[in-house]
C-alpha cells in the first residue's frame, strides 16, 4: 500500500514544474509558491517529509505512471479525460480560463472582443479546449498553440498575438509583475468553472494515500490554513469543493 510505504520511508516524493507562478517558482534557486506552502502542511498532517523535484511538465505524468514519484503536485486542471486515467486530490485553486492583452490596448475589453483575433494558449491544456469552444460560439477565433504559456506571453509582447488565454491565478501574477506590458480583460474569465488539483496514480494501492490527503486538506480548510495561504499568494480566498468534482 502506497501510504504505508511512504510512512515507512518517512518521506513523500513529489514532482512539479517549478515555473508556473504563483504556484511553483524558483526564487534564486529556492523553491517557493502556493503549492509548496499547501503541500508542506499536507505532508505535516500525514507525518512525512516532502521531497520536491523540478520535472518539466511533459515528463511528469509519464514519470508518475512508472513510479518515479508518489504524486504530481503541479497544478493540473481537472478534466473528464484525465479523470479516466488518473486520481485527483481535492482542488487547490480555481483554474477557470481567463484572458490577458497588451497594456494600452483599448480596442478589446470584454472576452467576447476576441472574435476574429489571434489568441495564444498552452498546447494540450484544458484552457485550450475551452478557448476553442468559446471561439466557436463567437464565430471564430484564430487559436495559436505554444509549448508553455511563457512563450505565448512573449509573443503577446511582440504583437504577434492579440490576447493569451490561461488560468486566472497565473494571469493575475503576470499582470502584477509586468503591468507596463500586460493587462487583464474586464471581466477576465470566461467559460466553465474548472479547478486545479494534484494527481495520483489511479490504482487500488493509492486509495489510502488519496484519502489521507483529502482528510488533511479538509482539516486545513477548517482551521483556516488554506485561506491564509490562498490570500498570501492569490490576494483573495475562494472556497473550493472538498473532493475533485466528477471523480
Amino acid at each position: 500500500d502506497q501510504l504505508e510505504d511512504i510512512k515507512a520511508a518517512g518521506k513523500i516524493v513529489t514532482a512539479t514544474d517549478m515555473h508556473y507562478a504563483p504556484f511553483d517558482m524558483l526564487n534564486n534557486g529556492t523553491y517557493e509558491g502556493m503549492t509548496k506552502d499547501l503541500f508542506d502542511e499536507v505532508a505535516k498532517e500525514i507525518g512525512v517529509e516532502p521531497v520536491y523535484q523540478d520535472i518539466p511538465w511533459t515528463a511528469e505524468l509519464p514519470g508518475l505512471e512508472v513510479g518515479k514519484f508518489d504524486i504530481v503536485i503541479a497544478p493540473v486542471t481537472i478534466t473528464p479525460e484525465r479523470l479516466e486515467r488518473y486520481s485527483f486530490t481535492p482542488p487547490i485553486a480555481d483554474a477557470t480560463v481567463a484572458l490577458v492583452k497588451a497594456a494600452g490596448n483599448d480596442e478589446m475589453t470584454a472576452p467576447e472582443d476576441i472574435a476574429g483575433k489571434t489568441v495564444g494558449v498552452q498546447q494540450g491544456t484544458a484552457q485550450f479546449r475551452q478557448l476553442q469552444a468559446y471561439g466557436e460560439t463567437l464565430g471564430g477565433v484564430d487559436v495559436k498553440e505554444y509549448g508553455t504559456t511563457d512563450e505565448a506571453y512573449a509573443d503577446l509582447a511582440t504583437g504577434r498575438l492579440d490576447a493569451v488565454a490561461g488560468s486566472l491565478p497565473n494571469l493575475t501574477y503576470l499582470v502584477k509583475n509586468r503591468p507596463e506590458t500586460f493587462a487583464k480583460f474586464e471581466p477576465a474569465q470566461f467559460g466553465e468553472p474548472t479547478y486545479f488539483a494534484w494527481v495520483l496514480r489511479r490504482e487500488e494501492e493509492s486509495e489510502t494515500l488519496l484519502a489521507a490527503i483529502e482528510d488533511a486538506m479538509a482539516k486545513m480548510t477548517e482551521d483556516g490554513r488554506v485561506e491564509a495561504i490562498q490570500t498570501k499568494w492569490l490576494g483573495s480566498y475562494t472556497e473550493l469543493p472538498a473532493t475533485a468534482p466528477g471523480q
Partner: protein, 215 residues
C-alpha cells in the same frame, strides 16, 4: 524594453545551475570519448560481429532523439526492474549518445589517412596497439579536432535535456527564472552567455591542441 537589471539579476541562479551543466557535460564528454574510441575500434575491426554491433550502436544512438533515449533510460528501465538515480541516468545517456557521433568522426579521420602510413609501421612488425596509439591516432586526432570540438560544444548544449529527469541545469534554471520574472529574453540571453563562456574554453582548448600538434 530590454531590462539590463533583469539580465544581470539572472546570473546568480544561472551560475549556480551551471554546476550541473558542467558536471553532466564533463562526465558525459569523458564517457563519450572513451566509448567512442571503443565503438570506432569495433567499427574498424576485422570481426564481422564487432562491426555489426558498432553499426547498430551508431545507427540507434544517432537515429533516436536524445530526449527519447533519456526517457527510455529513466522511465522505461524501472518497468523492467532497473532503477538508476537521475544524475547517473543523465551522464550515462549523454555519454553513450555522444560516443556514436564521436566514433563516426574518428572513423572518418582514420579513413582519410594515407595507407602508406600504417604500411610503414606494419612493415617493421609494430603491434596493433602501437600502430594505433603511435601512428594512426596522433594523426587522425589532429585531423579530427575541429569536428570533435564541434561535437563537444553540441554536447554541452545538449546536456540541457537532462532537466527532463529533474536536474536543474542552466537551461532549466533559465526557464524557471523566466517564468517568475516574465522576462524570457533577458534571462535566455544571460543563459547564452554562460554557455558561450564554457564553449569558448572548449574551442580555445581545441585551437591550442590543433596548433601544438600540427606538423
Amino acid at each position: 524594453m530590454f531590462s539590463i537589471q533583469a539580465f544581470l539579476d539572472s546570473f546568480g541562479p544561472l551560475l549556480w545551475a551551471a554546476r550541473y551543466t558542467l558536471l553532466v557535460s564533463g562526465l558525459g564528454i569523458a564517457l563519450g570519448l572513451v566509448l567512442g574510441a571503443l565503438v570506432c575500434a569495433a567499427a574498424l575491426s576485422r570481426w564481422r560481429a564487432a562491426r555489426f554491433v558498432a553499426a547498430l550502436w551508431v545507427s540507434f544512438l544517432r537515429g533516436v532523439p536524445l530526449l527519447v533515449q533519456l526517457l527510455l533510460m529513466y522511465y522505461l528501465l524501472p518497468v523492467i526492474g532497473i532503477n538508476v538515480p537521475a544524475i547517473v541516468a543523465a551522464v550515462v545517456t549523454v555519454g553513450i549518445c555522444a560516443s556514436a557521433y564521436i566514433s563516426e568522426i574518428w572513423r572518418g579521420a582514420i579513413g582519410a589517412l594515407p595507407p602508406g602510413q600504417s604500411e610503414a609501421a606494419v612493415a617493421v612488425g609494430m603491434n596493433n596497439r602501437d600502430l594505433w596509439t603511435r601512428i594512426i591516432l596522433p594523426q587522425a586526432v589532429v585531423m579530427s579536432l575541429p569536428a570533435l570540438v564541434n561535437e563537444l560544444i553540441l554536447l554541452v548544449k545538449a546536456s540541457s535535456l537532462v532537466s527532463l529527469v529533474g536536474i536543474m541545469e542552466v537551461t532549466r534554471a533559465s526557464q524557471a527564472q523566466a517564468a517568475t520574472t516574465f522576462r524570457p529574453l533577458e534571462v535566455y540571453i544571460a543563459a547564452a552567455c554562460i554557455y558561450l563562456l564554457i564553449n569558448l574554453c572548449l574551442a580555445g582548448l581545441g585551437r591550442y591542441l590543433e596548433h601544438r600538434m600540427a606538423v
